[in-house]
Assembly symmetry: none
Homo-oligomer: 406 residues x 2
């Protein structure tokens, strides 16, 4: 049973407000035996105060041992079962560069590749040697060239991502998203022909075939990056909206396009165009009276973790802590602090470890936690819970869920 089948039926209108502060990749690991994690090492007087007032818990992003990407990590935080709802790779890539994927779109991750005279791939990243890859500067004129491709009845978008990577979107009627990757995953062979995996995607495969043929002509004569492969064909996932499943008007405040895009997929309104955490809180204050729910995303905890920079992540957590009083001053009925997954500096990447999470509300049941951190959160009142249950907890504490059954 989908948790939304419950929330959809029990949701209540109200005046209460919920703020969810998400420090991306918040959870961490010690770097020396017996040492603290990044969050435990950071001086976080404000978060510690919230931990004392509120209730903490250890949140599992997906399932034990499963490391989430940003897509599933955020879907789960938003309360959507990440094993049921999947965001296609093409849609995620488009979302990451701020391209708003629409209902009639098929989004595709594309790579420039280098082909020899026989049409066989010599470099899968558009470089000239075997390991070299195309630079972003070299990619840009090629992307612009590809915008000349024209297929009747279909609107085509070509957008650069980084280096050899770009995004292609076909917009039109009757375009299914199930087309196989054309990347053969090795060199010495030509790219595969686009082929449909179901009846509804036959037209998409035809359009893709025409796109590739014209692209090859436009790129012909280039010494490298004269071909391309297409992967991750996907359509916008059918996600029920926040309004429908929770009955809240939701706003998303983020700096990076990826998180704005993920929020948009669940029907949140993207507000403001902040460039820093301080500016995000400016936006929050400005739009506060217009929405019920606020997703505020802070990126740099994850970035420093990805860099393997323990001290840098500690500092980012301290910056994050510093804005907490401004959020508290708005007196939201429910204030949540969490992350979408762990990004331990010790691993320089996302991990499966649970994320310390806290919730402050009038009717939360406080626990013995005195600091906000991984170890204390283990014995918090929210227990060990899956991220997809955070939203029902938020709604309940906001007085926005009716009794189940009589």
């Amino acid at each position: 049973m989908d948790i939304h089948d419950l929330t959809r039926g029990l949701k209540q209108k109200g005046q209460s407000k919920i703020v969810m502060l998400v420090a991306d990749g918040l959870g961490g690991l010690p770097v020396e035996p017996g040492g603290p994690t990044e969050l435990e090492a950071a001086a976080t007087p404000n978060l510690d105060r919230l931990a004392q007032k509120g209730v903490s818990g250890s949140m599992l992003p997906i399932k034990p041992g499963i490391t989430p990407g940003s897509g599933p990590g955020h879907l789960a935080l938003f309360g959507y079962d990440p094993l049921c709802y999947k965001i296609g790779r093409g849609v995620l890539e488009a979302t990451g560069i701020g391209f708003e994927v629409g209902a009639k779109d098929v989004a595709i991750r594309a790579n420039f590749s280098t082909l020899d005279a026989e049409g066989n791939i010599t470099n899968r990243r558009g470089g000239s040697g075997a390991t070299d890859r195309l630079s972003s500067e070299e990619a840009l004129p090629r992307v612009e060239k590809l915008r000349e491709v024209s297929v009747p009845g279909v609107e085509i978008f070509v957008e650069p991502v980084k280096e050899h990577r770009f995004v292609v979107v076909f917009r039109g009627e009757g375009l299914g998203g199930r087309v196989c990757d054309t990347d053969p995953q090795r060199t010495g062979v030509p790219p595969l022909e686009p082929s449909a995996d179901d009846y509804d995607s036959q037209r998409t495969a035809e359009v893709a075939g025409k796109f590739v043929a014209q692209a090859r002509k436009l790129l012909a004569g280039q010494p490298k990056a004269n071909g391309l492969t297409l992967r991750g064909f996907s359509v916008k996932p059918a996600l029920p909206s926040y309004e429908e499943v929770y009955g809240v008007r939701a706003a998303a405040i983020a700096v990076y396009p990826m998180y704005k895009g993920l929020a948009r997929l669940v029907g949140m309104e993207i507000v403001g165009d902040p460039g820093s955490l301080e500016e995000e809180i400016d936006v929050l204050e400005r739009v506060y009276r217009h929405f019920d729910f606020f997703f505020v995303h802070f990126k740099y905890t994850d970035s420093r973790g990805e860099d393997g920079n323990f001290q840098g992540k500690v500092e980012m957590i301290e910056q994050f802590d510093a804005i907490v009083p401004r959020v508290e001053a708005l007196k939201p009925e429910v204030l949540i602090v969490t992350g979408d997954h762990s990004t331990p500096a010790a691993m320089s990447g996302h991990s499966w470890h649970p994320v310390p999470t806290l919730l402050v509300a009038d009717h939360c049941r406080p626990d013995a936690c005195r600091h906000f951190g991984e170890t204390e959160a283990l014995s918090g009142g929210l227990g060990h819970f899956e991220a997809m249950y955070l939203m029902p907890l938020a709604l309940a504490h906001a007085g926005r869920l009716a009794k189940f059954g009589a």
Copy 2:
């Protein structure tokens, strides 16, 4: 969604090794108010050291309140949802005596019973009075007699188990496993005729009918144990292999046939023929470089628990603790210590109580646990989790699971 749908797609090859030490029936209960459990009473300096280095948790074998048999208990430990995958009683009984059930086999639990002149059962355990039961010594010549039964097109195996219990296996083409038990569950009536529960099992029922008819002739004239009942008809369950779902080459090291058989069902290779825990570790050392995953089974914690022998179980746990340094010396990337269920001496049997579990790995997130035991495990970093998630946790900590989604 099956967790294997995730691990199958995310599994990564690698050089890392995982050792899972399973002390059967590890969990226990105090025998006096405020007293320790068997594990807490035992002196376990090595396990305590691992608890300090690693992460502990309280593992639920199946679901709260559900006491597992050895079959579901081990399936769950191996990561197979024990509510989805079932091992038939006949297959489990055959497995327990070391009979390797093959793809064309139907395995059956059989009981000698005593029939009167009208063919009605007077004793369901082959004894002469109402409560007496056949001894193992008395059963053996009867088992040998039954090996004379011959049914064209089918190979038949008859193997003793203990007392009145024996195993029958039919091997041949087109033998389904859904045949009803012939045991009427009471005396004063004849055994039931074997009858098929589905189309594919009609031939099995016919073969069983012929087997019973010939057996009755061969046993005729005996004053007791002159009849038999057949129960738990079952075929080898279709379990995906460790190689397929986890991408590891797995070895099983066990003394008792049951556990070797269970491991074989998930595609583990049975290595060595150890007769003691010391010899099991000898085998582990010898085959260590040839496999990625090692299931090492220690039986006697369960045995002493079944005997209701608290102090005996304490001693077995201390023996188990003593071999830990030899395992550590191999430097496995992931070392797990757990049990398949609890067997509290206070209950002289399996129970539903959670099993204290610990995991040591470079990227585990240590918790505050200082000793390995039921009470401390409650606040461990693995939380309260179902046994079927232990394998994903093991693989994650071994660097053998890729990120889920982008």
